[in-house]
Each structure stands twice: as C-alpha cells, then as structure tokens.
Amino acid sequence: MIKDDKNYNIVVIEDNIGDFFLLEEYLNEKINNPLVNHFERFSEFTKIADSIDEVDIIFLDLSLPDKSGKELVEEVLKISRNIPVVVLTGLSDFSFALKAIALGASDYLLKDELNSVALYKSIVYNIERFKNIIKIKESEQLYTDLFQLSPQPIFVIDATTLTVLDVNKACEHLYDFTKEELIQQPINSVLLNNDDINFESNGTIIKQIHLKKNKEQIITEVKYNKIIQNGKEAIIMVINDITKRIEHLNEIENQNTKLKDIAWIQSHIVRAPLTNILGLINVINDTNAITDKELLTHLNNSVLELEIIINDIVNKTNNL
C-alpha cells in the first residue's frame, strides 16, 4: 500500500492512552514516519506554544483532567491560531462537537467510528482547507489595513439610518473624535447645521463643511460610494480635507488684490507728481522761466510728494 511521504507534524492532546495508541496506529497506516507529539494534559500542551507554527494539525480530546469543554477548546484555539484543530469526541458528547466547531475548531471525529481512512482524509482535508481560510483572513486583514491605514479619513455609514458604522484612524485624527464616540451616531452630527448628506450616485463628490469635536469647521470634499457590507447597503464617505488649500487660495487672492492695488497706485498716484515734475521741467525749458519762483516751488513739492508715496508703497509691499 502507498503511504504519504510528507513530513507531517501532528499534535495529539488525549489523556486516554488506549485512544491515543489507536490513533497513532491509524496514522502510521497511511503516513510514513509521522512526527507525533502526544500530550495528556492541557498544561503540557501549552509548553509548545512558542513552536506552534511547526505543527500541521492538532487533535484534541474534549475532556482532559485539567481542562475540558468550552474553556478547553477556547484555550487551545488561542494557542493554535493558524493551525487546524480537530476535536475527538465520543457519541455521548457529540452535540458539544458542533459547539466546538462554532467556536472555531476545524472539524470533529467520532472516536467510535474512527479508522485510518477517515483519519487520513481528515488530516489532508483540514490542512488544505485551513490554508484557504488563512488566505481569506489575510485578505480581510489587508482590507482592514487599507481602510485603517489610509491617510484619507473614511466613514462607513448605514445607507438607511445614516448612522456611522465604522471610521478609520485618519478619521479619528481629523475630527478629534474617538471611534467609540462616532459609531452609531448620525452622520449629520459632524456636518455643519446638521445638513443632510446628498448622496446621488457612486463617485459623487460634494463640497461640505464638517465639524470637529471642538466645533472647529473643516472644508471638505467628500466622495460618496455605495457598497454592500454584511448584506446591507452602506455608504463609504472618503473625506478630503481642503481647508488648507482654500486658505492658501484666499491668501493668494488677497495678495493679488494687493498687487493690483499697487499697480493702480503706481500708475495713478506715483506717476502724477512724476509727470508734473517732467511737465514743469518742459515748461521751464521752453519759457526761460528759471527765474520763476512759483514753478520751482511746485517742482520741489512734487519731488517731496513722490518721496512720500514711494515710501507708502514700500511699506505696503512689506506686508505681503
């Protein structure tokens, strides 16, 4: 008969020596040199917690002298993490086997019906299936990370009640609320004047004024998208805080206004005495009026006026 040559590392937690020997024999029937670690007590098993990643599968008897039932299953699952746990049960506590699966156990085997074929199938099947479960868990973790670590604040809200279902860290940071303070709250509690949200279609971007916890206003562009979460319609609101951008734009516009003012002043105010000076000089040249004191006084005053105006402009540009 062909045996499986893979290097299985199998843990068996079983206080009944007879049951253990039987199980070990069935294992040897299908697998070449399986590495079997046997523990009679839960407390013994905990000692390998650090090297648990080397284990391929755990078989767990549901009643041990130092722990049993729900508590035992939970404690073992806590240690096993990404390793499949198959519970071994007698007919008498069969109903509890289902509970163990609900708690997170991978499979159950009835000791009374155990044989090498069923055992081998259970090993192969549970190891493979668990690999997929881990992939799903990783994918879920990736989604959670993308959501949580996104630099853009994100709200997930119930599409019907418009209450907050979830927020990410960037959201807590921007609004100064903790996640707990936001969850189950109506979304319009962060909107100015308790405005209603205006959701039209996927990808809608709406400019809104939002409120931080301290009622400070934030100018935002909100991108809305509908998703299905846990079978219910939810709305994802991705927040883009444009407060700073708007402030910068206003600042630039203010500066442009000042620059236009300066250009106007240059043209109308500064050039006025300057053109007078030039005009006076022309007249003086054309009329031999160099003896005319009045013209010279005007010329002098125009120069003084020009100096004052230029000083004003210098002060104005200093404030830019």
Binding site: S267, H268, N276, G279, L280, N282, D286, T287, H298
Partner: protein
Amino acid sequence: MKHILIVDDDPVATLILKKNLELIQVNQETITFSNGEEAYAYFKKKYNEKENYYVFLDINMPLMNGWDFLNSIDSFINKANTHIYILTSSINKLDMDKATQYTLIEKYLSKPINKEVLKTIKEENKW
C-alpha cells in the same frame, strides 16, 4: 463758439497744461474743474448743442472720476461737437483699453503733456 475745459484735481497738472497752451499760442480762455462732478454740473447747466467743447479729462479724481463723468454726460451731449482728450498719469494698459470703449474719446494722452501733441490738436481743430 468753442470752449476748452480742463478737468483735473491736480492744480500743478492744470498749470502745466495751461502753460503749454500759452506756449503754442492758444489764447482761448480755459475753464477748469477739480473733479468730474463739477464738470458734469457745468455741462448739465451750460451745454449748448451749437457750440464746440474740447475737454482735457483726468481719470483719477475724487467725487467723480473721468469714466463716471463720461458716463453721466453720454446721454445728453452731441458727439459731433464734444471732443474728449484723456490726460492722465496712468500708463496702465487697463486704462488704455478702457478708453477705446468710449467713442467720445478723441485721444488718450499720457502725462506729461507734450507740446507737439498739443500743436497737432490745435491744428486738427483749427483753434
């Protein structure tokens, strides 16, 4: 009968213009106003369609600036006998562009006023 009007809030600028008119032998008496409002009041009261008006008009003035003055007389003066010469210190393109929108404006002159330019105006108008 012709009238030469100077509308400018700057007395020195007015003086310079008058001296230049003297230099090119325009001996016609000029009438001066220190803002658009005074000039408008004059037109409102004295305007006669059979007479000729030549106005040297500054833009930046208190109370009523040059543009507002043009807008306010536009409805009742005859364009054929009213000639506006913008005379401003402004060399701003915005002001020059704006001047082209007024058909009343004969010329846009930048200060300081040039004797040669005045001569041309004198000859064109047969003063």
